[in-house]
Symmetry: C2
Subunit: 278 residues, 2 copies
Amino acid sequence: MEQDQTPSEKQGHPPAQAILHEVRTAENSAAHLLPKLQSMKESNYHLTLLDVGAGSGTISVSFAKLIPNGHVTGVDLNPNILPRARAVAEMAGVKNIEFQQGNVYKLPFADETFDVTFCHQVLIHIGTPWDALREMLRVTKRGGIVAAREGDYESECVWPELPELCKFHKLMAGLMSAGGGTPTAGRQLLSWALKVGVERSQITLSYSTSSYHTPSDKKICSQGLCDQLRGGSLREKALKFGLGTENDLEEMAKAWEEWAKRDDASLAMLHGEILVQK
Amino acid sequence: MEQDQTPSEKQGHPPAQAILHEVRTAENSAAHLLPKLQSMKESNYHLTLLDVGAGSGTISVSFAKLIPNGHVTGVDLNPNILPRARAVAEMAGVKNIEFQQGNVYKLPFADETFDVTFCHQVLIHIGTPWDALREMLRVTKRGGIVAAREGDYESECVWPELPELCKFHKLMAGLMSAGGGTPTAGRQLLSWALKVGVERSQITLSYSTSSYHTPSDKKICSQGLCDQLRGGSLREKALKFGLGTENDLEEMAKAWEEWAKRDDASLAMLHGEILVQK
């Protein structure tokens, strides 16, 4: 799929829609896993961790820093994002990491390869998330951990409630569903783990939040969403599925620009989190 | 209003609808305030804290434990709950606390009385929450803190999505609105503080979650809601406002009983939180 890469992607620059994802770290997106990771590290100096759907690799890189004597593998379905992930690792001076192309339904690893297998905002986008969890369990060692964190898009709170932001919310939910995903992934995560035969007693469930409300947060968020509405894959899909006109998308982008300027603005969402003890 | 008390309330036992509230502590319901409280305590040994809408007093009592050389005052509009709050304090062996009747719109205290003024799930229920915030600011010393945490009911995530639980969600939102409250309080908290003239730079906004998913959590939650549906003030108001029939309420109670038995069940909600530096 090399021919699909833009010149900027070839140089390891982030595609527009990735900017918003690059604020993600293990600390803000995998906090539920960190105490367990710390205790595992104490008894196993050379932990191996797989980050599924690694994208730009910012979470993977922060995991690699947390286990400096261990090793992190990041996989993503989209090979075009891999140069950016490698550039992120290089800029951070992180060596104990590698990125490769991989499909969560058919991970390119033997059974029981990793101590920890993690994903963030992956299961929400796919048709049979329980099959992905089964595959993540397969590549995880006995005694290891499968961890997932998925947003619950229907819990999203935006203020002020500008009409175009409400339309944007519906657009995003529509796109997720049109792509076979589940906008209410966060609340269903536990049920998906139970569906593949994991005992309830092996699963720790928690909920956390992500939010944007400081001036810099709002700028990153607005810019990321405007880029997607004006030129990213979101725009392409919205037009393809007939979920909005070019004019609708431009009105939404303007509303996000207005939102970012307002003192009373915030955006928040619930995320479901599971830790599965294999 | 003594004549409205039930015999059990006179003995300081919780009314049915209070059971669900009594799992609340400063740790789980005011976590955003605790680091600030700790730093204030270091420079002021005798902090005074006002807990507005203290209810059964479990949050107030845990605040009192955190500032053993300070003093906590809990006020509630409903005088019938005060004996229970005093019993909770006595059972905990906490002495640096008092409870009294009080209206958040007209707090019975002089200007600049408290170092910290706090409320939890109060502003969501009232008609002009910004007036309550203005009053809380009035009784707070210069250099002190006003802190609030309010749920955003529209962010609530329940699983499994039994039809009667969806009806219950609508009933609760309807009751809140019928009573003059704001189901989307959490996302609006910041805007309310700005509305009374506080500068954005004086306000720290955050979001957190509450959730029920362990067997004991689910039992407490289901029992508390069933009690309210079968005999509490929720039932009374639902019937009064024509928001449900007796049969509807019984079906909802049965659904909560079924929910509590299911391994895949959870209930979660976003809360908005502000700290205002006066």
